[in-house]
Symmetry: C2
Subunit: 346 residues, 2 copies
């Protein structure tokens, strides 16, 4: 009892409520749960007592005896990215609509995979009833052992593994669509900044598709691996320098809006602008990257749809209403804007 704040009084239990209301714990349990078989007068008395002492039922104890937690666990790679932030909001919304609560866990930094494994274990240890894995980097192998006993969906990235559901934006289709756009603008030599699968499964898939589709259009593609240039969206000066040195390139396709911003900034530092000097495209089109001010030509990912369907899928699995795992590719859409235009002869 050191300071003014006595944090030592432990939380009131159902027992305390029973004492105040002058009934047994069983009655309190039923009254609060709205079960039948309790006198209306008793119900109000119990509720008043609960409110009076600030009773909040212990979800842990409840989960143990009821063997249900009504909780969905969401693993996100990096909460500071708007992409995951929006997804999280969509999960939350739909989970509430379906009668579930959501707890989220994150790896500590954005990098070490080991942190994500631990975060996943945290969720499992909490005995969440469903798992939504939302990380472009965590290998399926780490998810599979849990997916076997907890309804799981991998959200936001393509995942072909047959033993776990997935809901994602059609990355290849998006990459193709953007490539079609760039080709149709008239570009004949294009630099594509590609990403390794180990760094990001989604970005890798879409940039691969861009390369393939451009070639299909007969475009001369210069494929540049991001890992050869530091793999940091904020530091792509050497990449831009390299592209300038190449000669003849009129467009640059980046793996994401974030990367595109990095490219645009690096260009600006060299006095280059889009689309005058190079056309530039991004990917994601999530607010605030999506602002008109930036005007980045991009491919929109329908995160709200992905979020809703992911939750529906896990909840259906929990309710046994689902016949098995499913893989749903959601279509995005082209967002033409200011950073990409017709090629300029230099």
């Amino acid at each position: 009892m050191q300071n003014g704040m006595g944090h030592h009084d432990s939380a009131p239990t159902i027992h305390d409520v029973a004492a105040v209301a002058g009934v047994s714990k069983s009655v309190v349990s039923r009254a609060l749960a709205g079960s039948y078989g309790v006198a209306p007068a008793t119900v109000t008395r119990v509720k008043r007592a609960a409110a009076e002492i600030g009773y909040v039922a212990n979800a842990n104890a409840r989960g143990m005896s009821a063997r249900r937690t009504h909780t969905l666990g969401v693993l996100v790679r990096d909460a500071s990215t708007p992409f995951y932030g929006h997804l999280l909001t969509a999960f939350q919304l739909q989970a509430a609509a379906r009668g579930y609560r959501v707890v989220t866990a994150t790896g500590a930094g954005s990098f070490p995979i080991e942190d994500e494994r631990r975060a996943l274990e945290t969720l499992v240890s909490l005995r969440v009833e469903g798992l939504i894995v939302c990380s472009g980097a965590l290998p399926v192998e780490d998810v599979l052992p849990f997916a076997g006993r907890i309804p799981t969906v991998i959200a936001g990235r393509p995942e072909a593994n047959a033993s776990v559901s997935s809901v994602y934006c059609d990355e290849r289709g998006g990459g193709r669509g953007l490539a079609d756009h760039v080709a149709s603008l008239g570009h004949r030599r294009v630099a594509v900044l590609t990403v390794a699968p180990s760094a990001s499964i989604t970005q890798s898939a879409r940039t691969d598709a861009m390369v393939r589709q451009l070639r299909k259009h007969g475009v001369d593609v210069v494929r540049i691996r991001s890992e050869d240039h530091g793999a940091d969206p904020h530091d792509v000066d050497s990449f831009v320098e390299h592209v300038v040195g190449l000669g003849g390139v009129t467009a640059i396709m980046a793996p994401s809006d974030l990367w595109a911003i990095g490219v645009l900034e690096a260009m600006a530092r060299r006095g280059l602008r889009a689309p005058q000097d190079f056309s530039v495209t991004g990917y994601d089109h999530v607010w605030p990257y999506a602002t008109e001010l930036l005007g980045i030509t991009s491919w929109r990912q329908p995160l709200d749809v992905i979020g809703t369907l992911s939750v529906d899928d896990v909840v259906d699995q929990i309710d046994g209403r689902s016949s098995g795992t499913m893989h749903r590719a959601i279509d995005g859409e082209l967002v033409p804007a200011r950073t990409a235009g017709a090629p300029t002869v230099r």
Copy 2:
């Protein structure tokens, strides 16, 4: 044994591990906890058994018997905002360093306060050992009853209430600093877009400070309430129109970078640019708003510091190492950029 549907095998318990390892549950418990008094050979045997059957201890049961959950609960208003996203990451990082896990809960939509109350109860029901409340809108009154029995800190907003700790950026100091900057640039008539405390305690405090400080500099201030113009950062056309109609105004101070972007977009739709037509300032300077491309003159909030100190505060309270509640105002810093310059005679 088909996959996808075999979710019926419930999670392995400590009992199962004991059976496989051929020891009692107590030994398993101690071996896995790394407690003293277990033969090295037994430890490895138990660990192998646990790994073999994929045992993950039930945190709920553990929390009940140990009366400790080693979990911090974070309530965030809107995860899709980069501001909260970055804060979350900072919490996560420091909590891990201090040996705690983090679970977060969010209101379903960003608006109804009732949702946030429920989210707070979710956290309490989970019996988190510490609470970090991170919402510019939830009234203290809703937090107080829990703060009395759970170590709590209100993060990211000024909160003077004596019975709960808080860590925040000095909003008034920031508002003053930005106002000083605008005044020093030579502006003599400035429109300030203010926010009501009920909408956002932080934005209200900083915009009030801007108004006061500008007046102190003898600047003619036009105070415009955001709620009179829809209170939506994405739809400020009527606001901009109003400012243009005013005449003589050379600068606009917005409550946040998000609002500033809305203003800049609305200006752009009318063919107006910053700083040529109006100087514009924001507030927060959080990535990705902080990109050079946007070049918004702003005030940087040190979210990483706020996050770290918040966690330290709650954990110290939990450990009983804290002498009481404290209120720490962290200084931000001016970020001069392209959207604010000397006034232009029009």
